[in-house]
Symmetry: C2
Subunit: 292 residues, 2 copies
């Protein structure tokens, strides 16, 4: 197995670690990253066999090339990487939004059969190759959203590859539907957590009381606001239409709460919360099965 990973951050280095665990000594990894420090780290820790700052150095005989840079960077590299790879190399990416990459493939490479866009639903609130984990994908979902030209054999090979790294796979043929669903499941909650911590920071400058008053609910609610701003900027801009629409729908629900509170409308308030509570309890049953 010969693997090239383009973008050797948290996800890229975790792919390298998980692949080493899965393929052992037969594996050869090329790390591509704009940072010489990152490449030095990858080589000194044995996470790659060779490294380069340029995608032009991707070996022609790679089995897989995985674009693991932030979405905008991966999109910018797409054309060059497709021109560079050998005739049997398969490609994938790990972006959290999928419509942009699928559109780029459909329009700019309508006949390229060997790119299978993927979204591993795995991450941490810390960034960089030092924080990568061999276990990052274990039992996590990797969603595959084939482009129009992607052949089935490549999608199936990707299923095997990501499963071998420990993940479960799910195919969603419509990349826009993927992005809409991920708006609810991930992007909007992150946006709200970021915005809430902005508010809390501004409303409580320097008071120690506030810090000491944060309970478990606050901690869980805001944990995701420590995530990497650059990655999330790309996600928010890359899923703009869904996020703005969902944000508007959310604001309208907030207005309902606001009015119920202002007018002391007990029943309306309780009913709203009961709807949320029962949805959350329903989800809990499903979630239970997924948590380790």
């Amino acid at each position: 197995m010969k693997l090239a990973i383009v973008g050797f951050g948290l996800i890229g280095s975790s792919l390298a670690r998980a692949a080493q665990r899965a393929y052992g000594a037969s594996l050869n990894i090329t790390a591509i990253d704009p940072s010489q420090d990152v490449l030095t780290y990858a080589q000194e820790t044995g996470l790659c066999h060779q490294g380069s700052t340029s995608v032009l150095d991707i070996p022609k005989d790679c089995d897989w090339v995985i674009l693991a840079a932030p979405v905008a960077a991966s999109l910018a590299l797409l054309d060059t990487v497709i021109k560079t790879v050998g005739p049997n190399t398969m490609l994938s990416d790990v972006g959290s939004t999928k419509a942009l990459i699928v559109d780029a493939l459909n329009h700019r490479h309508p006949k390229f059969e060997r790119f299978i866009p993927a979204h591993p639903m795995a991450g941490r609130e810390v960034s960089g190759p030092k924080h990568g984990l061999a276990t990052l994908f274990d039992n996590k979902l990797v969603i595959l959203t084939p482009a129009r030209a992607t052949v089935d054999a490549v999608t199936k090979a990707a299923e095997s590859f990501y499963q071998k790294l420990g993940a479960r796979t799910l195919r969603i043929d419509d990349a826009s539907e993927h992005d809409r669903l991920m708006g609810y499941a991930s992007h909007l909650p992150h946006l709200l957590a970021f915005a809430f911590v902005n508010l809390a920071a501004r409303g409580n400058n320097g008071t120690t009381d506030y810090q000491d008053l944060t309970g478990g609910g606050y901690r869980d609610f805001t944990r995701i606001a420590a995530s990497d701003p650059t990655m999330w900027r790309d996600i928010f801009l890359g899923n703009k239409d869904n996020i703005v629409a969902q944000l508007d729908a959310f604001s309208s629900i907030l207005t309902t709460y606001r009015e119920a509170i202002l007018s002391d409308n007990d029943n309306s308030l309780t009913e709203l919360m009961r709807e949320a509570q029962s949805e959350r309890l329903r989800l809990k049953q499903i979630i239970k099965g997924q948590d380790k």
Copy 2:
């Protein structure tokens, strides 16, 4: 030690369990609850020595009477309880908002010296006496907000009492400031989590994809939306002014995000998230010390 607990739900029964752990065989507990089923449960499981549906049955020789019903119910019982207790009994409550109870004491009982309002920052997303825990208050903060007439000896006795149950105590003299800070630290995040789950429920009726797509971020972010709607209705209405003001400030931050996303304003978006990220990382240091 003779203790009466008014409202024998999650918090009330946890107080009983923690007091049994702390005081052992010398403890005598009276449970007051409107539900006969709850009282039967409390008696059969040995959580109380005697029970009644009426606060008029609170023994005159109690050392402590703790109002552990939802805020509105505790407020409604306040006058009767103060009239009923013996001359040496001390009183406290466990409400999550404190301005209402302190105002009620200041205006309706301006000379009553033995009521010390308290807010134990402890809870679970499940309700009822069966889910109470002896360990619920361990290392948790109990905030004390004395009324104007509360004498210092009673505040000090409350500090000893709650500390003996496992908690740390913090005195905040201004109950309104307590409520404002708790808006940020707890009430608003709960409101946002409820509203977000409302949105997700409506946007994805019956799709299984959505359920399977929820990652760890979603789970943490929405966990608190499973909390008891009745309790939260009382909190939202009892802290109305702060919550509406904070909600409006939050909505204005959301608008900033929305505009940055719509206009592809990379810098503004990244800057907003960096502010949130650094605040969250700063808090993490403090939070670390508090988590078990």
